[in-house]
């Protein structure tokens, strides 16, 4: 993430604001930075489900927390900030992926990896499976899940409750429960070690 690009990204995000310099970080800046410390890893991991590179994931994460700053500065609701962060990350992640796909017409790296893993993932009951192979097989199964199921699984793994997942993805509570049960059944059907 080089400096000039980051600055221009902020300008694109907030093109109509006046510029004045301040003296030091405010309490709100400190609060948002603290939330970033807590949630950067979970958000980056979740964004990987969109097939974004780490670099793009980092850029989107920055945009999420800049948006959070604006949201809080405007005095908007502070309830369930974690759910809000994931919801914004979800939407920005979708937009970023669409932009990349439109620009380059290329398959995302994680999709390629998923395909490779799927090719390697044919189970052989006679074969002793190492923990590395086991992990790759599980990840291949996850990558083969419908997109919504995969996202439910990732969000739940990051500790979101069903209501929060439903809000992030814009689906019903029951759909979250069905999706998770379906995904875990597939993982369970992968067989014992």
């Amino acid at each position: 993430m080089e400096g000039p690009r980051a600055d221009s990204s902020v300008e694109q995000l907030f093109p109509y604001v006046d510029v004045e310099r301040s003296t030091g970080p405010s309490a709100l800046e400190a609060e948002v930075t603290g939330l970033f410390d807590d949630l950067r890893g979970p958000v980056l991991r979740y964004l990987s489900s969109f097939g974004l590179s780490v670099h793009d994931g980092e850029e989107v994460t920055q945009e999420v927390f800049l948006s959070l700053f604006i949201h809080l500065r405007a005095g908007k609701p502070r309830s369930n900030i974690r759910g809000w962060v994931f919801r914004v990350a979800h939407n920005l992640g979708l937009k970023r992926r669409e932009t990349i796909q439109r620009a380059y017409r290329m398959v995302s790296p994680s999709d390629t990896r998923a395909m490779e893993l799927q090719l390697d993932a044919a189970p052989d009951p006679e074969e002793h499976i190492s923990s590395e192979q086991w992990r790759e097989r599980l990840l291949a199964i996850v990558q083969a899940l419908p997109e919504q199921d995969r996202r439910c699984l990732y969000l739940r793994a990051e500790g979101l409750r069903y209501r929060e997942i439903a809000d992030v993805l814009g689906i019903s509570l029951g759909s979250v429960a069905i999706s998770l049960a379906r995904s875990l059944a597939r993982l369970g059907n992968a067989g014992g070690r």
């Binding site: 970080p25 948006s67 700053f69 937009k95 599980l138 509570l173 993982l187």
Partner: protein, 272 residues
């Protein structure tokens, strides 16, 4: 994983281990699990799948994450720059920057009015779906006193009813394939106001309507506070919310429309 009719479904077992099942259904499922080795084994298998997935998920992604200090420093710099900017002139400058010819503006306005008229004209009578059918969902409550209710903590999270119960409620309302974005199974009298898990207390509530489940949640919280403060009786709260929850909302919040805060979190789209 086959479920016999008498067994607990995978979905309900997962909701149980995730703490998402309603209180009375938790007891019901626990009773079944005490007697059923088959379902206990399936629950352990689900727990095992969760553990395997979490381990694989973290082991795969965590090593790929770059160190946090670089992006943290970047964020701090950008926040500092952003904090120095004044947000007051956003709209004015935005309007000034978009120079729309007057004729185009009038034409756009006319098209918008026509579209809105068309949408309103073609919309189904959605208000009919905002309230439960009193024949199917008159409301049902547990025999609790104010003291019983207020001595226990309100549920902090939503709870799921058993999948089979939910399916029955949708069927009673003639909805065979409920669209996830349109409905949510809701308690007429919330469990935090003593409502039971009986199907007579459940109905499919539109998820995205103005008078939606979020707005009703706010009413439920408010009524509970009033009951526990001794301002109204539990029976009064249960009667008001089960007779006509929208009228009850208007009465207790002194408004004809849902308060913005009760809708804001759902509707707010800060990235646009």
């Amino acid at each position: 994983m086959n479920d016999g009719n008498s067994h607990v479904s995978d979905q309900d077992l997962l909701s149980l281990v995730d703490g998402e099942l309603s209180r009375s259904h938790v007891a019901e499922v626990h009773r079944h699990l005490e007697a059923c080795w088959n379902c206990r084994a399936r629950m352990q298998q689900i727990e095992g799948s969760i553990a395997d997935f979490v381990r694989a998920y973290r082991d795969n992604l965590d090593p790929q994450l770059p160190p946090a200090h670089v992006s943290r420093a970047m964020l701090k710099a950008r926040l500092s720059e952003l904090a120095a900017r004044q947000p007051q002139s956003v709209w004015r400058r935005a309007v000034q920057s978009v120079a729309i010819p007057r004729r185009v503006a009038y034409l756009s306005g006319a098209i918008a009015v026509m579209l809105i008229t068309l949408i309103v004209w073609q919309s189904p009578r959605s208000t009919l779906a905002l309230s439960p059918d009193p024949q199917l969902t008159p409301g049902a409550a547990l025999p609790l006193t104010e003291a019983d209710l207020c001595s226990r903590e309100p549920a902090s999270e939503s709870r799921l009813v058993l999948a089979s119960v939910g399916k029955r409620v949708f069927e009673e309302y003639g909805i065979r394939n409920p669209q996830p974005r349109r409905y949510e199974l809701d308690y007429l009298i919330d469990p935090d106001l003593g409502g039971s898990d009986d199907t007579r207390n459940l109905w499919p509530q539109p998820y995205s309507a103005t008078w939606n489940a979020r707005v009703k949640d706010a009413l439920e919280n408010h009524l509970r506070e009033l009951v526990c403060a001794g301002a109204i009786s539990l029976a009064q709260a249960q009667q008001d919310i089960s007779m006509d929850w929208i009228s009850a909302y208007k009465k207790y919040f002194q408004t004809d429309q849902p308060i913005e805060d009760h809708l804001a979190f759902v509707k707010d789209q800060p990235w646009q």
